[in-house]
Amino acid sequence: MSAPLLSVRDLHTRFRLRGGLFRRSASWLYAVNGVSFDLMRGETLGLVGESGCGKSTTARTIVGLCRAASGSARLGDVELTRLSRRRWLPVRRRIQMIFQDPYASLDPRQTVGSILAEPLRIHGLATRREVKLRAMALLDAVGLNPRHIYRYPHEFSGGQRQRIGIARALALEPELIICDEPVSALDVSIQAQILNLLKDLQTRFRLSYILISHDLSVVRHLCDRVAVMYLGKIVETAPRQTLFAEAAHPYTRALLSAVPIPDPTLEAKRRRIVLAGDVPSPAAPPPGCPFHPRCPERARVAGDRCALEAPLLAARAAGGAHACACHLSETTD
């Protein structure tokens, strides 16, 4: 097996909460609390979980928008978490990001042409004239009219704006694009178009993706592998087929049970698992298994182990691609 393109190990990111008057009593919000995964070249990894579980923060830490408290994220042989501003610059050409809100992610005062030109200018990749041509080519690549380089973001629809955001990420021809909920702000009818576009671009530009979503059905279309996050941790990771067929973690099963099935007879037979209670605050994560206050299968674990001992993310079969962080999955196999 070749080396992974991106390798994240035990990544932690925390935010300082407003403490007391003199900040002595500052407390922390543990948004990313020990995330590890590998991403192979050309692969798409889905990162799913409820809103607030730390998906965006994971992405933002990897691309250097947040400072990691500890842990590592290596892109090839570059350690991303400790790069200085200057060292980051060449790495920007290898890793890019697509943002969630197409209405907020484009500078409203700039033309689409200059939005797309900016990365090229910063990295000195094109002359003044080439920049315009490249901007047109980029628009063309994402399925927009190349004649619209002198238009402004507010003159485009949400889906078109998201395409502009994708074009901007493509401008530097990166190896890896992190898509943070690229379709959740869009109409369902547009979502499929954008996902298909991402898929096309992947083959055309040999991209690897991390696709973040709170919606498993989005992930199902595009991903080779899926990682499920809960409260700043990855609780289960598996190839897509495996995850949808035989999810091992109680949280994943609950998530899957909420995904609608297109077949009405199956849909009628389906049993929904409704989770009790709310997601605990990441400022005070519960001890033991982070899922234990809500876990419907906790009773199947002997004693109070779930509340005392944190389960590790462990491969279910030796060398297997399916890993799960649950005491149950250790004992059953």
Binding site: W88, P108, E118, M136, A141, R147, Y150, Y152, H154, R204
Partner: protein
């Protein structure tokens, strides 16, 4: 690993298409938020007329030396306290000289020369009357407006250059730098500037020969510097607040992800996006500065005779108010000029606020 992909497969636009597409792109140019705001400002009658009025006012004031009006400082002992005479009664006559002027700048001298070349020594009559020394009120109001405009310009420039840069930098950097920068502003804020002005002007008066001859510092320079120093502070605070709310938006993060430098983010992304608030705020600052100038000149701390300013006209006006003679024109015309300008600026500010409001975009 395979070889690099063929660029032609990646980028489907060839050089031949490009020329044609670029030409076509120019035809479907979009409308920027600025031009949209401009269009909506034009639909706002009141604001639009105020803008025209202010433009005309500024033009008149800048081109004052070219106008065939009497000299604002020419004393005519046989024409003391003449009431206004409308143009149809006394259109004008000869008698213009440049003798009584103070040291004008080169540009103004040039304009005066041009005026003499065009009009000779012809000048308008005393349409708005004369003051207690026989000086033409119309000329004094127009020349006085130059001081106001100069002061407004100085303050606006300081607000724009120092205030916006400082506030945007402070807000974007955040953390300790922001803390330090804002404490400096707080300290400057707490200085009672009216005392500083009095203090500085007194010192300058004391040593005016030395300062003037050796350092080229005169009272007016001090005056402008002090006004500039006061008026960037509020702008810095306003801009910082706006930047704080903008700097976490996704388009700023996107700029960071593509590798934009801090300077680029501040000046190419943050400043253009707070500029609309800055402009609206300027229309509030400028009247305040004009009033401040008039106030200081009124107290004798600002512009000095023989130069003219609206504050000095107010002094003349106050002296003219007596129970025996009602020389209303000495009070009314300067007050009308000043009041009109300030009102127009306020209405324009209102109109700009509406026009630049992104929530109202696209509507009229």
């Amino acid at each position: 690993m395979s070889a690099a992909p063929d660029p032609l497969v990646r980028w489907s636009i060839g050089a031949a298409d490009a020329e044609r597409l670029l030409a076509e792109a120019a035809k479907v140019r979009g409308e920027s938020l600025w031009s949209d705001a401009w269009r909506r400002l034009r639909r706002n009658r009141v604001a639009w007329w105020c803008l025209l009025f202010l433009a005309a006012f500024t033009l008149t004031s800048v081109l004052a030396p070219l106008l065939p009006i009497p000299s604002p400082v020419q004393i005519e002992l046989n024409a003391l306290l003449l009431p206004p005479a409308p143009p149809w009664q006394e259109f004008g006559g000869r008698g213009f000289t440049t003798e009584a002027f103070w040291d004008l700048g080169a540009v103004d001298r040039g304009m005066l020369g041009l005026r003499q070349w065009i009009f000779g020594d012809w000048q308008t009559g005393h349409w708005l009357g004369t003051d207690a020394k026989g000086r033409d009120v119309l000329a004094r109001v127009i020349w006085g407006s130059r001081t106001s405009i100069l002061v407004a310009l100085a303050a606006a420039l300081c607000s724009l250059l120092i205030g916006v840069t400082y506030g945007a930098t402070s807000g974007y950097l955040g953390g300790r730098a922001d803390n330090l920068m804002m404490r400096i502003v707080d300290v400057l804020y707490s200085v009672p500037f009216i005392f500083v002005v009095i203090f500085l002007i007194t010192i300058v008066n004391e040593y005016r020969r030395t300062l003037q001859d050796y350092y080229g510092i005169n009272r007016e320079v001090v005056f402008y510097v002090v006004i500039g120093a006061i008026y960037w502070l509020t702008m810095a605070r306003v801009v910082r607040g706006q930047v704080l709310s903008l700097k976490n938006s996704e388009f700023i993060e996107a700029a960071r992800v593509i590798g934009a430098s801090t300077r680029r983010i501040i000046f190419l992304h943050l400043v253009p996006n707070v500029l609309s608030i800055v402009i609206v705020y300027l229309t509030l600052t400028i009247p305040a500065v004009m009033l401040f100038e008039a106030f200081l000149s009124f107290l004798g701390l600002g512009i000095e005779p023989p130069k003219v300013s609206w504050g000095l006209l107010a002094v003349d006006g106050v002296e003219a108010v007596s129970p025996l003679y009602v020389q209303w024109w000495l009070v009314f015309f300067p007050a009308a000029a000043m009041g009109g300008t300030l009102l127009a600026l306020n209405f324009l500010g209102d109109g700009l606020r509406d026009a630049l409001d992104p929530r109202l975009r696209g509507k009229d």
